[in-house]
């Protein structure tokens, strides 16, 4: 029995670790990843545990590293990934690491604040530059229009401000018109920049707060500016407000600060403006060089970080995980930590080796001790998987983790799952596409393993690549059986039907009047006497009654396959009973179940096979219906009395016998087990009394141990509970025999749906292209092909594939596993660095 068949044997072990060796030992165990530690201080708060300070220091280091990583990412530097897996550093190295990270963080922060200050400066200068340029435009524009419309100054304002014309200006119009440039001196103005999204609110507030006594102009800065703090690109506006009087000025300034506009001094004459602009330009250039230098310095620091950060992160995570684990240990004894862990029995040697290595590494003289413990608790379930089996195990675990040492259905699922899927998805072409897709994933596996795919759906398919590979392979196989490739049949071995033997002549009246002819296999020579070599004869492709024939065939097939799988499930239950030495259930539950299923469904299957092999074409007119036969069987009617042809001689007697067996199985299942349990509990009470009187403690002790082995027997025996439990199970099983068999008919239904859908797609889409002749036909076929292929992938492969997949899952979870699988265990989650570093485990 391989390890796949049942979960690993586990044992609970106690570790005594010297306090100085504990860190190294746990580190070694973490690398090994084979021990699941139990929390020995469940009622101690997280912050009251012993190593909480160390955990906190790790948290702090992680925070610093995260900060550095963020900075590295901000600069678009590639983080070096050598795939190196450094061991957890010793505790004394932690201080070094802390210092190093601390230094880096402070350096980074100072570089950042420097850069921010410089950038802020730079931003201010750029804004000033834009202000000078834009305001220049404002002034020029106004003067220009003034010359054009010399005597219509009011109209100018009208244009600029539309309806917002302040009444007051009208009085001053002549004055402005006469000497416009000087009149500006009478107005004060304020210029600044503002965020784009605030400009409209700003305009409105200014208008309202100043009662319209101001004149606002604004325009957008085309270039995007960089926010020095966040580094985001922002759009800003330059604005200029003209006003009169000091009161308005202070008011406008307040509004500007309210809107976080930055104000800049802007001289009034063009000459001064030009001078300042020149000064600003040179300062911007100077600043640019300084900025570049700072950026270089920053890049230098960061590239150093980028080279090492991955290794550092792994180291810190490992230390943190170790201290988390140490927090689970019992620390009540001086100089010694006590840990309890579950581990697989076969790997005890490796764990002990790891402990020894850890002890040596720490230089401790006292060895660490590992000792197995007796326990009544249920051990965790540990199924070893590799990249091939993990997908299948995941399907099983999604339903429920198996009980400890229960038969694991995963190895059988490897074959039955793709097979049942393929029965519903039988098409050579579709299977091939699916196979190729999975093959691609499998071949590119190493690349995707290294760079984990981000896309969740893709990741799911990638995890199940071997499953899809097998599904594709089996679909090709069943497609071959159904003789379907994109719904077309392929004639490889030559059909077994011979139309010529029907003896039609060219001018036959029958042929001329009937569009459809029937090939009669009863006529000599029409059926060649031997079937098509493999799968379904391609001649059915052109037959009118293809669906009818295939339905009957696939339906019966589904029942046969269902019965086979259910019987297989019961035989696995037999393995379970044997393994747990549960003879009572074996004889009182499993055996009647097996008989019941065989007598009911097994007999039907036998009839199907018998009818297929014995009844021939010649007798087809008189062949009995199996369905009517089954009904008659339970009505206890003799087929002869209804003038029906029996399937075989002695059918009535056999059937009566089977019905009696079926009926007898029910009370057997229902009553025998509770009765025996009742008897036993009575007996036990007697024994207990006896043993007490005899002082025979040894026997009692022994018995208790036995009782606790497989299932924990309840201390007080409650007859009504047992009976109800048994009744429910009996009824469930009897009903499920029929409903589950019917449920297997989905194999037929989905396969029918799939072949019909692909048939429709071919005849409605591809056929129209191919049926058109000439050049237009070629062009049409070209376009139709794209349509056809995209529909094939999206509907037939993805949608139909998903539905067949779901149904296959259901058949396994419900119909198959309900026969033997409990699935009430809990999974083994070892303390393993690989999982922690990959971030698969939440601490």
């Amino acid at each position: 029995m391989g390890s796949l068949f049942r979960s690993e044997e586990m044992c609970l072990a106690q570790l005594y670790l010297q306090s100085e060796a504990a860190f190294a030992c746990v580190s070694e165990l973490g690398e090994l990843g084979l021990a699941q530690f139990r929390d020995l201080n469940p009622d101690v708060n997280a912050f009251q545990r012993k190593f909480v300070n160390e955990v906190r220091r790790c948290d702090d280091m992680e925070r610093k590293l995260r900060f550095l990583e963020k900075e590295v990412k901000k600069d678009n530097l590639a983080i070096d990934d050598t795939g190196e897996n450094p061991p957890a550093p010793l505790p004394r190295e932690m201080i070094d690491m802390e210092n190093k990270f601390d230094k880096l963080e402070t350096e980074m922060k100072s570089v950042n604040s420097n850069q921010e200050a410089l950038k802020k400066n730079f931003l201010e200068l750029t804004e000033l530059k834009h202000i000078l340029r834009k305001t220049q435009q404002f002034f020029e524009q106004i003067i220009l229009t003034k010359y054009k419309k010399n005597n219509n100054q009011a109209a100018l304002y009208q244009q600029d401000q539309e309806t917002h014309v302040p009444q007051q200006y009208d009085d001053e119009t002549p004055l402005i018109a006469s000497e416009f440039s000087r009149s500006f001196n009478r107005f004060g103005f304020v210029a600044g920049v503002l965020m784009r999204d605030k400009i409209s609110a700003f305009e409105r507030v200014i208008w309202r707060a100043c009662r319209g006594n101001v004149f606002l102009r604004y325009t957008e800065i085309e270039a995007e500016l960089e926010d020095p703090h966040t580094g985001d690109k922002v759009n800003k506006y330059v604005f200029i407000v003209f006003f009169q009087g000091d009161q308005l000025k202070s008011r406008i300034k307040k509004i500007c600060t309210g809107f976080r506009a930055t104000l800049y001094p802007c001289p009034e004459t063009p000459q001064e403006r030009r001078e300042i602009a020149l000064g600003v330009m040179t300062r911007i250039e100077d600043l640019q060089t300084v900025l570049n230098q700072t950026a270089d310095h920053r890049r230098m620091v960061l590239s150093q970080v980028a080279l090492n950060i991955r290794v550092w992160l792994i180291k810190v995570r490992k230390i943190k995980a170790i201290y988390h684990t140490l927090n689970l240990f019992n620390v009540n004894i001086e100089k010694c930590l006590i840990a309890e862990c579950w581990c697989p029995v076969v790997d005890i040697d490796r764990i002990q080796l790891a402990l020894r290595r850890g002890t040596e590494l720490s230089g401790s003289s006292v060895p660490s001790i590992m000792q197995q413990m007796q326990t009544k608790e249920n051990p965790p379930t540990y199924n070893q998987t590799d990249k091939f089996t993990s997908g299948f195990q995941a399907i099983i675990d999604a339903f429920g983790v198996s009980n400890y040492r229960e038969v694991n259905p995963a190895p059988f699922t490897i074959i039955t799952f793709p097979f049942l899927f393929a029965v519903m998805f039988g098409d050579m072409g579709h299977g091939l596409l699916m196979f190729l897709f999975a093959l691609y994933l499998v071949l590119k596996e190493n690349r995707y393993m290294k760079h984990k795919p981000e896309d969740e759906i893709f990741k799911m398919m990638f995890d199940g690549r071997y499953l899809i590979l097998l599904m594709g392979l089996f679909s090709i196989y069943t497609g071959f059986l159904y003789n379907e490739c994109f719904s077309r049949s392929i004639n490889i071995f030559g059909t077994s039907w011979n139309v010529r033997a029907m003896n039609f002549t060219d001018n036959d009246v029958f042929l001329a009047t009937n569009p459809v002819v029937t090939l009669d296999p009863n006529k000599p020579g029409v059926f060649r006497g031997y079937p098509y070599f493999y799968g379904i004869d391609p001649i059915w492709q052109s037959a009118e009654n293809k669906i009818t024939v295939q339905n009957s065939y696939k339906m019966k097939n589904a029942v046969l396959m269902g019965f086979a799988q259910m019987i297989f499930g019961l035989s696995l239950a037999f393995c379970n009973r044997r393994h747990f030495k549960d003879k009572l259930t074996l004889y009182c539950e499993l055996l009647p179940q097996l008989l019941f299923l065989c007598a009911l469904i097994g007999y039907l299957c036998m009839c199907i096979l018998y009818k297929w092999s014995v009844w021939t074409v010649a007798q087809s007119n008189t062949a009995p219906s199996l369905l009517i036969g089954l009904i008659d069987m339970y009505m206890l009617t003799d087929p002869k009395s209804n003038n029906r042809v029996p399937l075989y001689t002695g059918q009535y007697q056999v059937q009566i016998f089977l019905v009696i067996v079926t009926v007898l199985c029910v009370p057997w299942m229902f009553l025998s087990k509770p009765y025996i349990l009742y008897k036993r509990s009575k007996q036990k009470k007697g024994v207990r009394l006896d043993s007490q009187s005899d002082d025979d403690v040894a026997i009692l002790h022994h018995e208790n141990n036995d009782a606790n082995y497989g299932k924990q027997e309840p201390e007080s025996f409650d007859m009504s509970e047992v009976i109800i439990y048994q009744a429910i199970h009996t009824i469930e099983f009897c009903l499920s025999c029929i409903s589950h068999t019917a449920s297997y008919l989905r194999l037929w239904a989905l396969s029918l749906a799939h072949s019909e859908l692909s048939e429709v797609l071919w005849s409605m889409v591809m056929h129209t292209g191919l049926a058109t002749s000439g050049t237009s036909g070629a062009i049409l076929s070209f376009f139709v092909f794209w349509f056809f292929s995209s529909l094939t992938v999206s509907i037939l492969l993805v949608m139909e594939g998903l539905s067949a997949f779901l149904h296959a899952i259901r058949l396994h979870w419900v119909e198959f596993q309900s026969k033997f699988y409990k699935g009430e265990g809990y999974i083994f989650s070892p303390f393993s660095f690989t999982l922690i570093v990959e971030g698969k485990v939440e601490e």
Partner: protein, 351 residues
């Protein structure tokens, strides 16, 4: 028919958001509070909060922690969650969520005006504003010197404009006036919110009107108690009472006549809901203050709102409960930081 309505609600309005809120609501359990009160330092508090729904919200904060950092981060978390919901909401729910924001806007405006009155710098005041109540024109309120100014220049464009109509006057802004503005705004806001919920109908009205009515009554009672010994006249005081609570109209009439605490108590005790709140309150050590009692009652109402599905009350209650929870955490954090453990247990438990 109800079923159809539920599906309509779930698909068309806010099924997704309601689910989200119910998830966000999952707060600290009794056990968590017990652990929190046992913490010795703020670092311990952080460590423990990591294990709760708050997760790693403090993970990027360097040590040593301060209470203000925790407060800021808690608030930030609430705001992020709320804004997420607000951004996904539309139609009625969006209006509803905006109503929730208005109360914070009122608080912010009042805070800024009071601050400017006391010659504080804007940069000093802004961090104290609640981020949920920030709006474009908010920071310009400092330019206003009269209430009419305030309305005409600034608030007329803000969503608060409709609530402001009642308090426009040419009077200068002074301490007393600001209090009156605050309460008038609140009154108008509560009435508008109440009427909106009423008009919305259904379970939303059932739940929200209950909560808002309590809110209105609480304000009336507190205004009355706080007005003793000030120059506020009884007529002015009566104008500030929100007229949507259970006290309206008779209770409010009585309240407006009250001129001592006992009188308020007498009036309130006529109402079954409020009688227990006044029992056992006092200023003796060990007694709960009336304020705490009000908070407790509010929490109960809000928790009850989660009992009903397919209504907007959960969004309101979620904000209020989260706020209460943050207040509790901050209370505990303060107690820890100031080593004042005697009162650490007097947070408001959320059931």
């Amino acid at each position: 028919l109800n079923f159809v309505f539920f599906i309509y609600f779930a698909v068309n309005t806010s099924g997704f958001l309601e689910g989200l809120v119910r998830g966000f609501k999952n707060g600290l359990s009794k056990e968590d509070y017990r652990h929190l009160t046992q913490c010795d330092t703020l670092e311990d508090l952080k460590l423990h909060l990591q294990g709760t729904g708050y997760g790693h919200f403090l993970a990027n904060e360097p040590s040593p922690l301060t209470v203000s950092v925790i407060d800021e981060k808690l608030r930030e978390k609430l705001v992020i969650e709320f804004e997420y919901i607000r951004n996904h909401a539309y139609k009625d729910l969006a209006t509803f969520l905006d109503f929730i924001k208005y109360s914070y806007m009122i608080d912010n405006i009042i805070l800024l005006i009071t601050g400017t009155l006391h010659q504080r710098q804007l940069s000093e005041l802004l961090p104290k504003c609640h981020p949920l109540g920030i709006f474009d024109q908010m920071e310009t309120v400092t330019i206003a010197s009269t209430t009419a100014d305030l309305y005409n220049a600034i608030l007329v464009d803000s969503p608060l404009a409709p609530f402001f109509k009642e308090c426009i006057s040419e009077e200068d802004l002074n301490e007393m006036n600001i209090e009156i503005i605050r309460n008038t705004l609140y009154k108008a806001y509560l009435e508008a919110f109440y009427d909106w919920c009423q008009q919305k109908g259904g379970a939303t009205a059932d739940v929200m009107c209950e909560i808002l009515a309590f809110e209105a009554d609480r304000r009336s009672i507190i205004i009355t108690i706080n007005s003793f010994g000030t120059e506020l006249t009884k007529e002015d005081r009566a104008k500030l009472y929100p007229r949507r609570g259970k006290l309206y109209p008779d209770g409010l009439l009585e309240l407006s006549k009250a001129d001592e605490y006992e009188a308020v108590k007498r009036v309130s005790e006529l109402y079954a809901e409020y009688k227990p709140l006044f029992d056992g309150t006092g200023n003796n050590p060990g007694d709960k203050t009336l304020e705490d009692k009000f908070f407790e009652h509010e929490v109960t109402l809000n928790v009850n709102s989660f009992m009903q599905q397919f209504q907007y009350g959960v969004f309101y209650s979620y904000v209020k409960l989260k706020e209460q929870e943050c207040r509790n955490i901050i209370w505990i954090a303060e107690c820890i930081a100031q080593r004042h453990r005697a009162k650490i247990d007097s947070y408001i438990p959320i059931m």
